[in-house]
């Protein structure tokens, strides 16, 4: 049982002038793979280092496996950590790197040997054990760093952007391997990344961070489909979610959103009133583009056409707002033409334009 519970953690930097973590609370379930996702400077690495014991939070408590570890040094927390730079010791062989933690525990030689060989086998670096890190590639060093953590059989595995120093192709491969491996070992894992694709593809849950606070904790599909705020919708997804601002209008007894003079009928959130401003969020792949005019469709002027191989990415202008639309490669279109957009009603999300918070879907006025 090794759940991580973080309670109201505050961390200050620059002599108390800057709060890097603001009242962060988060529970990571036993054997869960939790991803901390956010732009650089959002505090995700600081939070990870607080869990590791490398940073000390001025306020709040941290529990690992039900034990309050806030005041314990890293070595007593039964954690292992994979660093962004890998932090593989250059003066030790691969074997001694992996064995480092076991040697610190003064384990008998035979056990060290067996466990190191196991971990090395798991990471497929058993042929490099006698080499020094300088003789390894970046990918191999990364594996040494992971093996060095796994060999400790930690209660909690902490990973700080472990793939960010690999080149793009290798990263793709390493991502899949790491996912397979972590499913195998089933250790509670906290994984920091700024790469949303890594987060979506690997995590059981994602905690999205902004400005030192956790703004949403959900399963990857939920975070993607139901971003809790403008920030999350805009940060996750390539391209990010489109946002259109409009005013609610009463139309024939139902509500509609007036988007730059063009009324759109859509399922609005509960308790909205005529005259109220709303932000509508919709992803590029949930917009259908057509060259033909149709009653529901919103006209838009094409600004940019980008063929991306698997699909076309259009930048079009609706009213005054540029948005992204995804269409088939064979869609025949050129800039300055007018196209007609149909928004998938079920995929439309609503946000408060003032606070940026998403309206709760449960009370929506779906097709009243």
């Amino acid at each position: 049982m090794s759940e991580i519970r973080i309670q109201g953690v505050w961390k200050y930097f620059s002599k108390g002038k800057v709060a890097a973590l603001k009242d962060v609370s988060l529970t990571v379930q036993d054997r869960e793979f939790m991803v901390l996702l956010g732009p650089s400077g959002c505090g995700k690495t600081t939070l990870l280092r607080c869990i590791a014991g490398l940073e000390y939070p001025e306020r709040g408590r941290i529990f690992i496996g039900g034990r309050d570890v806030t005041d314990e040094p890293p070595r007593k927390r039964k954690i292992a950590m994979v660093f962004q730079s890998y932090a593989v010791f250059p003066h030790l062989t691969v074997f001694e790197n992996i064995a480092f933690g076991l040697r610190m525990q003064k384990r008998p030689n035979a056990e060290v040997k067996q466990r190191v060989n196991n971990a090395a086998g798991m990471m497929r670096i058993e042929n490099f054990l006698e080499r020094y890190p300088a003789q390894l590639s970046g990918g191999q060093r990364q594996r040494v760093a992971v093996a060095r953590g796994l060999v400790m059989e930690p209660q909690v595995l902490l990973m700080d952007e472990p793939l960010s120093n690999l080149d793009a192709l290798l990263r793709l491969q390493a991502r899949a391997e790491l996912k397979r491996l972590l499913q195998q070992v089933q250790t509670t894992t906290v994984y920091v990344t700024h790469d949303q694709i890594e987060a979506l593809s690997m995590g059981d849950r994602i905690a999205v961070m902004e400005n030192g606070a956790i703004v949403q904790v959900d399963a990857p599909t939920q975070v993607y489909d139901y971003p809790g705020s403008l920030f999350v919708g805009g940060f996750i997804g390539t391209p990010p979610m489109n946002f259109l601002r409009g005013t609610v209008k009463s139309m024939n007894g139902a509500f509609a959103l007036n988007l730059g003079g063009q009324p759109i009928r859509a399922a609005l959130p509960a308790n909205v009133q005529a005259g109220q401003d709303l932000l509508m969020g919709i992803r590029a792949e949930n917009i259908e583009a057509s060259a033909q005019r149709s009653p529901d469709a919103v006209p838009a002027r094409v600004l940019v056409v980008e063929p991306l191989g698997s699909h076309l990415l259009l930048t079009v202008q609706v009213g005054e707002t540029p948005i992204k639309v995804q269409t088939r490669m064979d869609f025949n279109i050129a800039p300055d033409q007018t196209i007609y957009l149909r928004l998938e009603p079920k995929q439309v999300r609503w946000f408060d334009p003032e606070t940026g918070v998403r309206y709760d879907a449960s009370g929506s006025t779906e097709l009243k």
Binding site: K22, R59, D71, A213, G228, S229, V357, D360
Partner: protein
Amino acid sequence: MATPQYTGDALAPPLTSPLTNKTFARRMESALPYLLLLPSMLFMLIFFAWPMVQALILSVRTPDGAWTMQYLERMVRDVNFTDALRNTFLIILIAIPLQFAFAIAMGLLIQAKLKGSALFLYFWTIPLAVSDLAAGLVWLAVFSDRGFLNSVLRTTGIMPIAFSWLSYENYGTLLMAVVIAEVWRATAIVMVIVVAGLQLIPDDYLEAAEVFGATRWQRLWHVTLPMIRPSLQVALILRTILAFQVFAVVIALAGRAMPVLASEAYNRYAELNPNGAAVYALLILTISLVTTGVYLRLLRTSEAEMGR
């Protein structure tokens, strides 16, 4: 599904309220850097700060404990005082510009990537580890009356009669010999600083300048030199401070024929007059600090430039 709470803009509680987490171990942790600094602070206090105070006290107080200006007056009235002051400044004014000019030229030569530049660099850096005393003795072999310079001049028939380069009667050549020895010894350190600075300049800047049509000289003047200016400035200050202490080179080459400030301090001390020596020490200290101040003022660069 509940609407997630949006806490992105939560304000920090005012820091005046006590922080909840502060255990003894954490206190030790935050004291650690100070504990690591402590020995060096104590050491510098005893062997650097205190002697400075002591120099001041010795200069204005007799061994009996009376306050006095007599040591200062005696120094100023001493026959050698003006000579020592003039000689020290002349050596600095001539040697330091030469050192910097040579050092920059040598640094650029190293950067030109000639074949064997590693060997050149080795030859040119040998004086780095040579003491001022040894440098003086090396050039003594050249300039002494029966030295190699006179020998060569005689053998080649240029100057059949031996010339006393190091005699106090030939002040010009004596000064020249000291300056040459100083340039020989101390150019290397400046050059190393120049080379280290030059190596930090990314090729991009020079290539960009070239693309935009800068000639070799324009690149040197408008890109290279401005970029190593900060390290040159620090080197200039340090070299000047060290030059005020010029001593062993002069003793080795000139003996007592050329008094300088440090040698006068040494002489007072050797005459068992520590107070007189301390006044000279105080004088050198003051000149050094004033010079540093003047340099810093003259070389002051704008904030934006320092932020590079």
